[in-house]
């Protein structure tokens, strides 16, 4: 039964309430704007930020002397020649200010003798990663920003709002159409400026380290509205995601902080270290970068030297119990509740989808190619090139969020006229209120089918054959999905929610697969078994647009993408 449509109007609409969205909302409100902060989940609890365990890379120089330009050099090196340099520079240069602002707001960075502790992390030339103990960085960042949002005047909040399309008027973005999950009603959100802070696309993969709402919504929304995406083939796999034994109540990327603090040893099923055969001898330290680590682990498994569940072992058996407890206190007890004693047993780990380097094309003011549309955080494409340096994700969420909020506020102030209609509002509303098709299909099973093919075929190790198979499955799923959503249209209609998710996820999966198929080389997180070498000819970024439902890919350096702005 269709529900009565609802609406709201605001100066700045922020979609997504992770760190990027909340920081953007705070800054836009400071700039004098009325802000509406919406999330498809609860405010400040979903998304990726709350899942971050430890590192925030920033050139504070509190551990050893540092300068943003050194952080910048490490970021560019990790990006394997593909970083958007102005965006990478912004991340590194503004990072310290944002980290100090968070400190002033009481986030509680770990300290020793009064100074903020900075840990050494792979890919960095010196200790640069601040954190909050124990495994609490993300929750602390979320909680701190939620408190500031709640204190800011001019910010309204609305959870359980799932945005299904951006609204546009002659190319300008003028808000969004959303499904209100709590009632099933279609909602029109009119906004002078809109900020996409929807995070990445890890939900496309069966094994992933983020929340259920990271299905690449923002990429699909931007693409359908006419914006461009860049670097979409570069999905970061976190090499040591937890695999076995089954562990509940813990984030699967939890072993990262353990390795930061205690080193640890990666072992194959002969209980031998193996990373030295892939060019990186670790010697009990944590130095292997994410792209090389994922490759080394998957190759060991392929050669029959994997652990029983299809990964490798990670061992801290050489660490005294006292050292484990000093570094991780209460976490050791949570592990014991799961039957895990690190002094007695290794655990099994394997690569897990973790972060997306690609995203929406924007300039250093977070302005996309569409007037009125801004972007923040992981949804932004290009800053991290072909592989993200560890610790840069929370930093970019804060830096890009702050910048997007300021830029959107300034845009709203400059705006002379604002349209009172949108070209596509009726289409979006009609879709949400549509009668269900009579045929029956299991949307939850379709989601699992998509996640499996993306994991197996467009994951950390790819080939033409595999990617082609994935595109075939994606095509079938698209046919099955059809043009109208199933369900009764009432509140928390799960099949209808799945349908809108699949509509986005299938489009974004197709973009990832097609750009991965086109890039016939191996670079950073994009590893092609059939094209194992890095090719100088591919030192370019692929940009994607949508024309009449067709994906168009063009190649060039970031400079050309920016020239379109």
């Amino acid at each position: 039964m269709p529900q009565e449509p609802m609406s709201a109007a605001t100066d700045v609409l922020v979609i997504g309430s992770g760190a990027a969205g909340m920081y953007a909302a705070i800054e836009a409100a400071r700039g004098g704007c009325q802000v509406l902060l919406v999330d498809r989940s609860l405010i400040g609890r979903g998304g990726a930020t709350v899942m971050a365990q430890m590192t925030v890379a920033v050139a504070l120089g509190s551990e050893t002397a540092d300068h943003w330009s050194y952080h910048y050099a490490d970021t560019l090196a990790a990006g394997r020649g593909l970083c958007n340099e102005p965006l990478a520079q912004l991340l590194c240069e503004d990072g310290p200010e944002c980290i100090r602002a968070m400190d002033d707001w009481g986030v509680g960075w770990a300290r020793k003798d009064g100074r903020i502790v900075q840990a050494m992390a792979p890919g960095h030339d010196r200790p640069r990663c601040a954190y909050v103990d124990f495994l609490n960085t993300g929750p602390a960042v979320s909680k701190t920003l939620r408190t500031v949002v709640n204190k800011s005047s001019g910010i309204r909040k609305a959870g359980d709002l799932c945005v299904v399309d951006l609204l546009h008027d002659k190319g300008d973005v003028v808000g969004a159409a959303a499904l209100h999950l709590g009632s099933g009603a279609p909602v029109t959100l009119s906004a002078k400026a809109t900020i996409l802070a929807t995070g990445g696309l890890t939900r496309l993969y069966r094994r992933n380290s983020a929340s259920a709402n990271m299905g690449g919504d923002g990429y699909a929304l931007a693409l359908r509205a006419g914006a461009s995406l860049v670097d979409m083939e570069f999905v970061q796999f976190f090499p040591i995601g937890h695999l076995a034994p089954r562990l509940i109540g813990m984030d699967p990327i939890m072993w990262d902080p353990f390795r930061y603090k205690l080193g640890g040893r990666l072992l194959n099923n002969r209980m031998e270290e193996f990373t030295q055969h892939y060019g990186v001898a670790e010697d009990g330290k944590y130095v292997i970068t994410r792209d090389v680590g994922s490759y080394a682990i998957l190759k060991e498994v392929e050669a029959g030297r994997g652990s029983p569940h299809g990964g490798v072992y990670l061992s801290f058996q050489h660490c005294p119990e006292r050292a484990l407890r000093e570094a991780f206190g209460p976490v050791i007890d949570r592990l014991a509740n799961n039957g895990i004693d690190l002094t007695k047993m290794p655990i099994e780990v394997a690569p897990i989808a973790h972060y997306h380097m690609g995203g929406i094309v924007a300039d250093a003011n977070m302005q996309t190619t569409l007037p009125g549309l801004f972007v923040a955080g992981e949804a932004v494409g290009g800053a991290n090139g072909a592989n993200r340096l560890s610790g840069n994700a929370i930093t970019e969420a804060l830096v890009f969020g702050r910048r997007a909020g300021r830029a959107a506020a300034s845009y709203v102030k400059r705006l002379k006229t604002f349209p009172d209609h949108a070209d596509n509002i009726h289409v979006a509303t009609a879709l949400m209120a549509a009668d269900a098709p009579t045929r029956n299909f299991n949307t939850a099973a379709m989601l699992e089918t998509l996640q499996k093919t993306m994991q197996d075929n467009v994951g950390a190790l790819r080939s033409r054959t595999k990617i082609t198979a994935a595109l075939h499955t994606i095509g079938h799923l698209n046919d099955e999905l059809g043009d109208t959503p199933p369900g009764d249209g009432n509140r928390f209609d799960m099949r209808r929610i799945d349908w809108f998710d699949l509509r986005n996820m299938l489009l974004v999966s197709r973009v990832v697969a097609e750009t991965a198929l086109a890039r016939t080389e191996t670079r950073g997180a994009h590893q092609r078994e059939d094209c194992p070498e890095l090719s100088p000819d591919w030192a370019i970024n692929q940009t994607v647009t949508l024309r009449d439902r067709r994906i168009e890919i063009s190649g060039g350096r970031h400079s050309s993408a920016e020239a379109m702005l």
């Binding site: 709350v50 899942m51 959870g159 299991n442």
Partner: protein, 112 residues
């Protein structure tokens, strides 16, 4: 013979007009209740309404339900090879099945 968890789940849109449905879920030691609920959606009934975000980390705090009359997080409660009764939070407004209105009033959408 493989073991099963038998989940008796409250279904419905209105608190005073619901029904109980029972699903047999393949049981593997170490699984969470949320694993079982997600299995039901993908393999038996995609209309089952549940609320969760972080899946496994106990970070989002969205997946609260009543398991055998005790409030638990579905992501940290263990699935067991027995009959388990799962109901929505009884002190919150029901939205559908196991989903209740848990957002603070200032974080709900208002038509304006």
């Amino acid at each position: 013979m493989s073991e099963t968890a038998s989940l008796k789940i409250w279904r419905g849109l209105e608190a005073n007009a619901g029904r109980w449905e029972t699903y047999d879920v393949p049981f593997e030691a170490g699984q969470s209740l949320l694993d079982g609920l997600r299995w039901i959606r993908a393999n038996r009934d995609p209309t089952l309404a549940i609320r969760f975000s972080c899946i496994n980390a106990n970070a989002c705090k969205e997946c609260m339900v009543e398991l055998d009359d005790v409030t638990v997080y579905a992501c940290t409660a263990r699935l067991q090879a027995r009959k388990m009764t799962v109901a929505p939070l009884s002190n919150k407004k029901l939205l559908r099945d196991l989903v209740t209105e848990i957002a603070p009033p200032t974080e709900r959408f208002k038509n304006s």
